[in-house]
Each structure stands twice: as structure tokens, then as C-alpha cells.
């Protein structure tokens, strides 16, 4: 059994049903398993689909994007002898990767093609700040390509694409359907935790661990690895608490919040998170706290950004309990 892809069967079916109709914006918090869905589909393409996947994590310029896309295509050709290898006959032009992709989809793809981009939202958001024209141009080309009759696109990202598109002056149409990848349910979370823990855990420990990790596979895995001790002994709640402390010290969520630092309202975003993490906090509390330095409309926009980053819910509650614990530690 592939435990790294546990609990996603129903979602797979839903997503497959959707891409028969439209391209998809697959969004969700960091660590929920969006990239894993793409990797899974790249390794085991759905029947009737050829899959091409581009990972844009850490890409911050148009030149890097072009290089990354070319390298991936070449790598793919070398690794799997399939229809992509025919591409090199026509040549992949680094100067215009979108044109090359379009050419590929129009003339060479033997069947319907599923093109997947991972974290293109972060790429466009970063590009928007440094070169908005380039960001807009990339988005327009991407949108145009997604309407190609032989292709569907799946874009995954940990921030929402629609607000970015609106800021770029190119609102996305209804032919993009947004699907949020849900966290794992309790049973899957417990099973995954138990699998990675490798020693016996009491039911209480499993339930508590699943609850703290909020159904995010990445954090379930990390927490389970911190839960060490004699193999013969069942793990207790105290062991789990120690593991949580260790995890929060070693991994203070810097990566999860890094993209907020690039935002023009970064201090207010962090302040809002601190307020949201406080005991008994709610939307009213966060709004009131923010309005000590911002107007009401500005405070609302700050919450919108955090919501679009999947860090808080509509009631301005921290979506991920471990993050809340980490923020409260910082508060102290």
C-alpha cells in the first residue's frame, strides 16, 4: 500500500471527473499533499491522458522558468521514451517556452495532454512585484493554452491564483475551476501517523497527533518521526507532547510563512497571525487588533491575504493547530 498517497482515492476520482470538463486550480495549505497528487499522476498517468509536469518551486525569473521547462522536457525525454521525445525534432525554444508548449500540444501530442504546474502561483506572485508585465504575459499565455482542445491544465499552489490574476489585471474566467485539496480525514491521519511512527501508539496518542497536525501529511510525518523511544513500549501522551516541543523548536514554520515576508503589508500579516493564534481569538478580535494601525478596509484586506494563503479560515482562526502552537510560543 502506498502510504504516501493514503486517503486520496475519492479525491482522485473527483479531480479526474473535473479535468474531463475544465482545467483546475488545485489549491490548499502547504503540506497538504498537492505536489504529491501531481507526482502520483506523473508516475501513474490517468488512463487516456499523457502527463507533463513542471515544478516551479523556487523559480523567480522568466529565464529560470524557461530553463526549468526545457530541462524538464529533456529529462522527461531521456527518462521515458514516449511522445515527448518527438519534441526535440521540432526543437524546444528556450526563448519562448509557451510557444514551444503550444506547438507540442498542437502537433505532436498523440493523445490528450494533462499539463501540470506546481507552485506557479508563487512564481507569478513573485514576478508581479518585480516585473508585472512579464507576470501578466505569462498568465495570459497560460490561460490561452489551457483552452487548447487537446489539453487540460492543473495548477497547484499554496496561495490562491485568482487574487493574483486580478492584481495583474487579468481576471481568470469560469473555465478554471478551483478545487481545494482537503486535509486527510482522522482515520487516514491516524493510519499515516502510525505508519511513520514505527512503534505502537495508544489510541489517545493517535487521535491527539492527528488533531494537532490538522490532517496535513507533511506534518504528520514530521511529528511521527520525532516520537522516539524504546520499541517495546507504547508511546504515551507525554511522549507526544515532548515530540511536539522538539518539532516546534527545530521547525519554527519559517518556510510556511516565508512568502508573507515578500508582501508589502508583511508586518501586519504577521501581527494578524499572532492575534489569530491567541486563546479565545476570533475575527472580531483580529480585526480590532489590526485596526489599531490600519483602517477597517485595510484590515479586511490583510485577512483576505491570509485566507488566500490557507493560513486562517473565514472566522480568522488558524487552520493548522501546530502553527497556532508555534505562534503562541513566539508570543510568550
Amino acid at each position: 500500500m502506498d502510504f504516501t498517497y493514503l486517503g486520496r482515492d475519492a479525491f482522485d476520482r473527483e479531480l479526474l471527473g473535473q479535468i474531463e470538463q475544465t482545467s483546475v486550480l488545485l489549491e490548499g495549505p502547504r503540506g497538504v499533499g498537492k505536489s504529491r497528487v501531481q507526482e502520483h499522476w506523473e508516475q501513474e498517468p490517468p488512463k487516456g491522458w499523457a502527463v507533463l509536469r513542471f515544478d516551479l518551486q523556487g523559480i523567480a525569473s522568466a529565464a529560470k522558468l524557461a530553463q526549468q521547462m526545457e530541462e524538464h522536457v529533456v529529462l522527461r525525454r531521456n527518462r521515458i521514451e514516449d511522445w515527448v521525445s518527438t519534441l526535440l525534432e521540432g526543437g524546444w525554444r528556450r526563448s519562448d517556452p509557451w510557444d514551444s508548449l503550444e506547438s507540442l500540444l498542437s502537433h505532436r501530442a498523440p493523445q490528450r495532454c494533462l499539463v501540470m504546474f506546481d507552485e506557479i502561483q508563487l512564481y507569478l506572485d513573485g514576478m508581479r512585484r518585480t516585473n508585472p508585465e512579464q507576470a501578466r504575459s505569462d498568465l495570459v499565455r497560460l490561460d490561452q493554452l489551457s483552452r487548447h482542445r487537446r489539453s487540460r491544465f492543473v495548477l497547484t499552489g499554496s496561495i490562491s491564483l485568482r487574487p493574483i490574476a486580478e492584481q495583474l489585471g487579468y481576471p481568470l474566467g469560469d473555465d478554471w475551476v478551483r478545487i481545494e485539496l482537503p486535509p486527510l480525514d482522522t482515520a487516514s491521519s491516524e493510519a499515516l501517523f502510525q505508519e511513520h511512527c514505527r512503534t505502537a501508539c495508544s489510541n489517545v496518542v493517535l487521535r491527539r497527533a492527528a488533531s494537532m497536525c490538522g490532517g496535513l501529511p507533511r506534518w504528520i510525518e514530521r511529528l511521527a518521526r520525532k516520537l522516539t523511544g524504546p520499541a517495546s513500549q507504547e508511546r504515551t501522551v507525554d511522549d507526544l507532547d515532548r515530540a511536539v516541543e522538539l518539532l516546534l523548536v527545530e521547525t519554527p514554520f519559517a518556510k510556511e510563512l516565508a512568502h508573507l515576508d515578500r508582501h508589502v503589508a508583511a508586518p501586519h500579516l504577521h501581527r494578524a497571525l499572532q492575534l489569530a493564534a491567541a486563546e479565545g481569538s476570533n475575527r472580531n478580535a483580529v480585526m480590532a487588533g489590526l485596526q489599531q494601525h490600519l483602517s477597517r478596509s485595510e484590515a479586511n484586506r490583510v485577512l483576505d491575504v491570509l485566507q488566500a494563503s490557507f493560513l486562517i479560515d473565514a472566522q480568522a482562526r488558524i487552520r493548522f493547530p501546530l502553527l497556532g502552537m508555534a505562534l503562541r510560543r513566539n508570543n510568550r
Binding site: A285, Q292, H293
Partner: protein, 530 residues
């Protein structure tokens, strides 16, 4: 005054609405919360926060006025002057079961649904003694099932983690008005038209900037100049009345601030320009962290604006949000008001009137200004003379970088005006111009005073003072400077700098400094310049 911005509850909501600008969204939000509650919804408590004079009571009065008269439920007003109480139960009894033993006010009818308008919930909450009392008050309010619509100076009462009301209020913080909204409000009160004569437009622009977006200051200033029939002198009288009328407003705002915040405001009010954070630290003798923290409080209270230095984005510049505050502070704190009031008034007029208006003031005409001081006479020539030092700065461009606060009355009846220029000229030249305008008998005293450490002298350096003094001497009596030069050692750098600067000034007499020089010469020798 026909409009009193301190007591909006005295006015009919329809009258209030006619001078409501920039609050449509907030009013709609409040209106929606009240109507939702009256139609059977759950009470969603509302908090209107904002600095004094920003329009909180005004908004509550409007919200009350928009409720349907036949279905308002029971409304209880807890005004700003309600005495605070040390216990929650005691306070609750005075709020909920308001009894008037003298029968002055009708007893509120008992409806099922009651809206409680509470002004200053932060003050009432602070008045409770004991940690549990605010929680008890919150409990009593919840138990009553009423809709609480409250005001507070800051949203901290609802957003502070240690507050009993943390997360209990949907909060709307009112901001000061922007320039367009300020202009609209000013016109609504003063009755001026959008298209007005140039001198009226100049005056309006200047007054709007002086108010810094505070609705209360705007209304007061607009009232002050409404129907001023006596031209500039009428304006002068009106402005003084406006400042007098705003005394409690600024006084309360000042006393609401922490000690360091008060010091920072005082330093900013005295400074001739915006100050860098490091300068504020130096002048208040406080640490960087303390100043930064206090500045955040002042910013939240709407009394200070912080901007990035265009030349170095890492550096913050501080300025007063409401330039009028500067005049209030001087009016309230100067120890020799008798000797400074004319120059004070002249500078205030210099902000509001155009250069031409000041220049055209008839020196022979005198007007008795009873509001300035019983029996005193403002001579237009006084205004002209004091204004002349200031005319080099265009009115309405920025608040005037002029400081005038002699520590003791000067023996000469003429006030010492230390006109310090902005960053356009270096401080030495600016001080020289000021010193050149000082009467001969006060010259040495003025130089000594300038040499003493004071928050006013921002770029205070002994060598700069000497250069300024030499420059001033050279400007007013070149012969004396030549005498001095023969006595001083040839390596006196201050003298060399002064001479070099004088030569440069002379060369640039036809350039951008021409007007500056003209003013200095006119101040020194008005007969010659004329």
C-alpha cells in the same frame, strides 16, 4: 458658534447628516447591525473607535436617527459624562435601571429589545477596580441580550488579548478625513462654493491642511471664517477664537497620551521641520525602542504621521498630523503671551492669507480686536512686519517652520522671531537671516540664546552658531564684519565660511535666493529697501 462640534447629540440627525462626509460605509454598517437586531437577529456588538473629534458620537447620533421612529425598541444612551463606577454591578445598575429621582428625564419604556449606546466603554471599563470586574460587566451585558453600540478612543478594548472584551466587538475605526473629504466638509460648514475667488481658495486650502483631517478642527475652523466681513483682521479674530475653542479638544488629546508621547509632540511642535527618529531620540533623550514604541501609540492616536525619508527609506520622519496643534501648544504654553501673541497671530495668518493679502494690508488702519486682548489694538503694520519675515514661504504649502518662544519677555517690545528655514537652506543661513532681523539691542542675547541647547535648535553646533552670527553681522552691517575680520585670527574657519557664504550670496543675488536676501535687507533696513 452656530455649530458646536463638541455636542453632536444636541443636534437633529437631519442637520448632522448635512455635514456628514466620508462616513457612509460606517453608517451603513451600524445601521445594518441595529436593524438586524431589531428584526429579531442576535446582537452583534459594535465598537466605533477613533481619536477625539473624529466623529464617533456624531456617527452614533446619526445611527440612532436612521432607526424607524415607530420601531426603535428601547434605546439607552450612556453619554461621555456618565460617572465611572468601581464595581460592575454598580455600573450596571446605573446603566440598565437608570432612575431619575427628580423626574428630569422620562423613564425608558421596557421593550423586549434594547439598544445600548455607550460612549467611552474603554473609560468605563478602566474605572472598574479589580481584575474580575470587567469580566463581570461583560457577563451582565451578555445576559441582558441587548445590542451594545459603544465608542472608544482605540480598538484595544476589543483587540487587546488581556481585555475582557477581547473579540466581543465588531470594530470600525474611524480615520481622519482625506484632503478631498476635508474640503467638502469645510465647504458644507462655511458655505463656501467649490469655485471661489483665489484668495478664498488659498485660505480654504491652508485651513484644511491645518486641521489635518480632524472633523472637529475642520468644523471649528470653517465656523471661524464663515461670513468674515472684516477681511484679514476678521480672519485673525476668527482664527484666535477657533484656537481658543479647540483648547479642550487638544488638551484632552494631549493628556490622553503617555508621558513620552507628550514630549515627542512638544518637540515636533517646536521643530522647524519634520524630524528624523534619531533627532527625536536626541531631543527627548530617550532610547530608540522607547521612541519607536511611543511613535506607534501616537500614530494610532492620530496625532503623528510617520513617513519614510525619500533619500533613505530606512529612516522614518515624524510630523504632526494636525499642524494646528503647533499653534494650540504655543498658545497654551508660552509664558509671555503678551509679547508673542502678535507674532503668533501673524504667523497663523501667514499660513492662511496670501502674500499679496498681507502686503496689501493698510498700515495706517487699526482695528480693535477685542478677542485678542481687551483694550489692545492690532496694528496692520505689526502684522505686516511680522508677516514679512515669513512671506518667503508660500502659505498653504506646509506648516510654517517658525519657532517663537522666548524664555522671558524681551526688554524691547518687539518680539524676537527666530525664523528657521526648512531643508531648502542650511541652518546657518536660516539662523543668520533670523538674527539679522533681531533688533540691535537684542542681538547678543539672541546669539547666546541660540547657543544654548534647546529642542528648537535641531542642528545645534557651536561653529554653526558662530557662522550664523557672522553672517548676520555681514548682512546687516558689512562694515562691522570687516572690522571683526581684522581683529579675528586669519585661520578662524567660522569667519572664513561666513565670508565665503556672503560672497556666494552676493553672486546669487539674482538667483533663487534673491527674495531671501531682499527680505533680510528689508527686515534690517526697511527704509533703504523701500
Amino acid at each position: 458658534m452656530s455649530v458646536d462640534p463638541f455636542t453632536p447629540w444636541q443636534e437633529d440627525p437631519r442637520t448632522l447628516r448635512s455635514r456628514t462626509v466620508g462616513r457612509a460605509d460606517a453608517l451603513e454598517w451600524l445601521d445594518h447591525a441595529c436593524k438586524e437586531f431589531l428584526s429579531g437577529g442576535r446582537p452583534s456588538w459594535c465598537l466605533v473607535a477613533g481619536a477625539r473629534g473624529v466623529g464617533k458620537s456624531h456617527l452614533l447620533q446619526l445611527a440612532w436617527g436612521t432607526l424607524p421612529e415607530n420601531d426603535r425598541g428601547a434605546v439607552t444612551w450612556i453619554g461621555e459624562d456618565t460617572p465611572s463606577h468601581p464595581t460592575a454591578d454598580g455600573l450596571w445598575a446605573s446603566i440598565w435601571n437608570q432612575e431619575d429621582p427628580w423626574g428630569w428625564t422620562p423613564k425608558p419604556e421596557h421593550h423586549e429589545r434594547r439598544i445600548l449606546f455607550v460612549e467611552g466603554i474603554d473609560r468605563l471599563s478602566r474605572g472598574l477596580k479589580g481584575k474580575q470586574e470587567p469580566w463581570r460587566l461583560r457577563h451582565l451585558l451578555h445576559e441582558s441580550g441587548c445590542l451594545l453600540v459603544a465608542t472608544a478612543l482605540t480598538p484595544a478594548v476589543a483587540g487587546g488579548e488581556d481585555s475582557a472584551f477581547f473579540g466581543q466587538f465588531d470594530t470600525w475605526t474611524l480615520q481622519n478625513l482625506d484632503l478631498d473629504e476635508s474640503d467638502e466638509l469645510f465647504r458644507a460648514v462655511s458655505g463656501e462654493l467649490v469655485a471661489a475667488p483665489p484668495e478664498v481658495l488659498t485660505r480654504r486650502t491652508a485651513l484644511v491642511r491645518l486641521a489635518g483631517g480632524s472633523p472637529r478642527a475642520l468644523v471649528t475652523l470653517a465656523e471661524a471664517v464663515r461670513d468674515t466681513e472684516e477681511g484679514e483682521i476678521g480672519t485673525a479674530e476668527g482664527l484666535l477664537r477657533a484656537v481658543q475653542h479647540l483648547v479642550p479638544h487638544y488638551q484632552q488629546r494631549f493628556f490622553d497620551l503617555p508621558a513620552l508621547g507628550q514630549q515627542i509632540l512638544q518637540v515636533l511642535a517646536q521643530a522647524p521641520r519634520e524630524l528624523h527618529a534619531s533627532e527625536v531620540q536626541q531631543l527627548t533623550r530617550s532610547s530608540s525602542a522607547a521612541v519607536s514604541g511611543a511613535a506607534r501609540v501616537l500614530e494610532a492616536a492620530g496625532t503623528l504621521t510617520r513617513s519614510s525619508d525619500p533619500e533613505d527609506g530606512r529612516v522614518s520622519r515624524y510630523a504632526l498630523s494636525e499642524p494646528m496643534f503647533r499653534y494650540w501648544l504655543e498658545y497654551r504654553t508660552t509664558q509671555s503671551w503678551e509679547s508673542t501673541r502678535i507674532s503668533w497671530c501673524a504667523r497663523l495668518l501667514g499660513e492662511v492669507l496670501t502674500r499679496d493679502q498681507i502686503a496689501l494690508m493698510d498700515p495706517s488702519s487699526t482695528t480693535k480686536a477685542t478677542s485678542l486682548d481687551a483694550g489692545s489694538v492690532i496694528n496692520a503694520a505689526h502684522l505686516r512686519r511680522d508677516g514679512a519675515v515669513l512671506r518667503r514661504l508660500a502659505p498653504a504649502v506646509s506648516h510654517l517652520p517658525v519657532c517663537s518662544a522666548p524664555e522671558r519677555p524681551a526688554p524691547d517690545p518687539e518680539p524676537i522671531v527666530l525664523a528657521m528655514n526648512s531643508q531648502a537652506l542650511d541652518s546657518s543661513l536660516s539662523w543668520a537671516a533670523s538674527l539679522a532681523a533681531v533688533p540691535e539691542s537684542n542681538f547678543v542675547e539672541a546669539v547666546e540664546r541660540l547657543s544654548q541647547p534647546s529642542p528648537v535648535h535641531v542642528d545645534h553646533k557651536p561653529s554653526n552658531i558662530r557662522i550664523s552670527a557672522y553672517l548676520a553681522l555681514g548682512l546687516r552691517t558689512p562694515g562691522r564684519l570687516a572690522d571683526l575680520r581684522s581683529v579675528l585670527p586669519p585661520d578662524d574657519l567660522s569667519m572664513q565660511t561666513a565670508m565665503r557664504t556672503l560672497r556666494q550670496l552676493d553672486e546669487r543675488a539674482n538667483g533663487p535666493l534673491q527674495h531671501e536676501l531682499e527680505l533680510v535687507w528689508r527686515a534690517v533696513a526697511p527704509e533703504e529697501s523701500s
